[in-house]
């Protein structure tokens, strides 16, 4: 009897988890995809299959170039995050001792803050009368405020880096911290100088964490539309912003859905590709 109940319980839970996945992930995705094959006339959506949106994407003047520019932007953000984040994660994992979790917590706390608030905060730091310009002026280094920091691509990059940095530090820290002390000692024992120990042992073993973090940063930067909206001005136009304007301003949902599907497709390709490359480098 009990076995029957147990069996019943397990199947119920399996069913529930399947329903959740299907209703919350697969159905929205499917409807999303299907919308991308519809068209718009005036304000009405024509529910008929058409490749019009995709043709528009590949033939339109700005879409592909913006997409490529956004991919570059995301790559730049990712690279800066790696360069800044890896040393922090490395230091935390290997040298911060008993303080490491306190410092890590301080890095995580900003993740709980509203994304919009953080962007506004960055605006007040980077702006014409923002913190940086004021300090530079006070120190007499500049005479009039620098325009380098706001309403352009630089501002988008800086803001995205600040916001996304924890996302690369945390998984990198986790994978570096998991490396047993013995393994590092073994590398010294076998004749490694500190740099060699890093190159042959610590870096390769910690690499999966860095890759996960880099994918987080890349994909979030790729799809972001709020940051360019708020600090990017006119020159900081990104792909995410085009998608946003199709949904929010132009009310062309089918075209927005098509652009978003392309973004999703590229993101999935990136994830699969890194997955393939890391599993290949292991064997």
């Amino acid at each position: 009897m009990r076995q029957v109940v147990n069996y019943f319980n397990t199947s119920i839970w399996t069913l529930v988890s399947f329903i959740l996945v299907i209703s919350l992930i697969l159905i929205p995705l499917a409807s999303f995809l299907s919308y991308s094959f519809f068209t718009v006339e005036g304000t009405d959506i024509i529910h008929e299959f058409s490749l019009f949106n995709y043709i528009e994407f590949f033939t339109g003047e700005i879409y592909i170039s913006t997409f490529i520019r956004t991919i570059f932007l995301a790559l730049i953000v990712m690279s800066i995050c790696i360069v800044l984040g890896y040393p922090v994660a490395y230091f935390l994992a290997r040298y911060a001792g008993k303080y490491k979790y306190v410092i890590l917590l301080m890095l995580i706390i900003p993740l709980f803050m509203s994304y919009i608030i953080k962007i506004y905060m960055m605006r007040s730091i980077l702006g014409f009368s923002g913190l940086i310009n004021k300090v530079l002026k006070m120190l007499g280094i500049i005479e009039k405020p620098l325009e380098f920091f706001l309403w352009n691509q630089n501002a988008v990059i800086i803001t995205l880096v600040v916001i996304l940095l924890p996302l690369i530090i945390i998984p990198t820290f986790t994978s570096l911290e998991k490396i047993p002390r013995n393994i590092v000692e073994a590398s010294f024992d076998l004749g490694c100088k500190p740099f060699q120990a890093f190159r042959y042992v610590i870096f390769p073993i910690g690499l999966p964490g860095l890759i996960v973090g880099s994918i987080f940063v890349f994909i979030l930067a790729l799809g972001d539309f709020v940051t360019p909206q708020l600090v990017g001005g006119t020159s900081g136009f990104t792909y995410g912003k085009i998608i946003y304007s199709n949904f929010g301003l132009a009310f062309n949902w089918p075209f927005g859905a098509a652009l978003a599907s392309i973004l999703l497709f590229v993101s999935v390709i990136v994830i699969l590709l890194t997955n393939y490359l890391t599993s290949k480098s292991k064997s």
């Binding site: 000692e185 073994a186 024992d189 076998l190 490694c192």
Partner: protein, 361 residues
């Protein structure tokens, strides 16, 4: 051919207020299987880590071939370690793990490959070179770790409780394997364990660590037959410790009085008449006699432990709680006895040990 290669001189180590090692001294010879034996937390791993260069002594000197190496960094020391949990590199397969030490030394890859195959066949893993460490059993990982150390041709291999994680059966196999391989490759092993039987079986020399110091250093037989302290007497196997007072002394014999009666000890000693001593006698060195003789004592059987072909007896005197253990009596003999019987015993006193009685004033 025994030349001394490694020496620890007056080494002490403290972590803050806690003293881990107190002024220890150690000499290790070429080609020696040297075991440091101690309970967990006794500081034995610290000694090994000091030799390896992972820990610095608070005071004292580490000498290798008569040169002080205290300040030499790990990667320059001619020693290699086999770590307790093997510490194989999870990102490399077996042959890359084994060849790692040579790769770091920039040796020609073709040569490395040859050497790796050679060493892998020494440890019996020639068919596993492409496996990842995670795909190996504990015993196999152990052998990879050993191969990785051997290939560097170090002067000393340090083994930090390498058999600790293995089950009893595999442990026995690996003990045999370690002993054979050490004789074959002729490199000094410094081996750490808390297992006395393992230490006796493997070692040329054993250093017993107790209370932050070496209690005694010597060959397994020395430690068993000539323990220097009562701690050592009890450490390997059983030993009856009898408090005695010297009541007569001749050239090579002393007569003592104990709670079990009076008997003569056929040994030369520096202790003088009237002094209080402790006489240690192993259970197997007590004989049961049919008839009393001039040096026998008569005691009562407290209980008989039947163990099949042999039995153990515990015997005591009439008015006393303490008892002596007698082991490995043929059951043919012990079956004739009953609890409470009185029997005549004689100590094979030449193989007993006389200790100073530290507790008496």
């Amino acid at each position: 051919m025994m030349t001394e290669i490694l020496e620890l001189k007056n080494i002490s180590k403290s972590y803050g207020e806690t003293k881990v090692l107190n002024n220890i001294n150690l000499k290790i010879n070429n080609n020696e299987f040297f075991t440091i034996l101690g309970s967990s937390g006794s500081g034995k791993s610290t000694i090994l880590r000091m030799i390896g260069g992972f820990v610095k002594p608070t005071s004292g000197q580490i000498l290798f071939e008569n040169k002080v190496i205290n300040e030499q960094p790990v990667f320059k020391r001619p020693f290699n370690t086999v770590f307790q949990d093997y510490a194989l590199f999870p990102n490399m397969n077996v042959s890359n793990n084994v060849g790692f030490g040579l790769k770091i030394k920039n040796i020609n890859p073709v040569k490395i490959k040859e050497k790796v195959q050679e060493v892998l066949s020494v440890v019996g893993l020639e068919n596993f070179s492409d496996r990842m460490p995670q795909e190996l059993s504990g015993g196999q990982q152990q052998r990879v770790a050993l191969a990785r150390a051997i290939i560097c041709e170090p002067k000393v291999i340090l083994l930090d409780e390498p058999l600790g994680a293995l089950d009893a059966e595999l442990r026995k196999q690996m003990q045999l394997f370690l002993k054979e391989i050490q004789k074959k490759i002729k490199i000094s092993f410094i081996f750490i364990t808390h297992d006395q039987e393992e230490a006796i079986f493997l070692s040329d020399k054993i250093a017993v660590l107790n209370n932050h110091k070496f209690e005694q250093i010597g060959s397994p037989k020395d430690l068993y037959y000539k323990p220097k302290t009562t701690y050592m007497a009890k450490f390997f196997g059983e030993c009856n410790l009898i408090e005695c007072k010297i009541i007569d002394k001749k050239n090579d014999t002393i007569k003592v009085e104990s709670e079990y009666g009076q008997f003569c000890i056929n040994q030369n000693t520096d202790f003088s008449l009237g002094e209080s001593i402790i006489f240690g006698i192993r259970p197997e060195e007590i004989q049961i006699l049919n008839k009393s003789n001039s040096n026998s004592i008569e005691l009562l059987i407290k209980d008989i432990e039947f163990r099949g072909s042999t039995s153990n007896l515990n015997v005591k005197s009439k008015n006393n709680k303490n008892y002596l253990k007698i082991q490995n009596i043929s059951s043919n003999i012990s079956n004739n006895f009953q609890q409470g019987n009185s029997i005549n015993l004689e100590f094979n006193t030449a193989l007993g040990t006389i200790f100073k009685n530290e507790t008496s004033s």
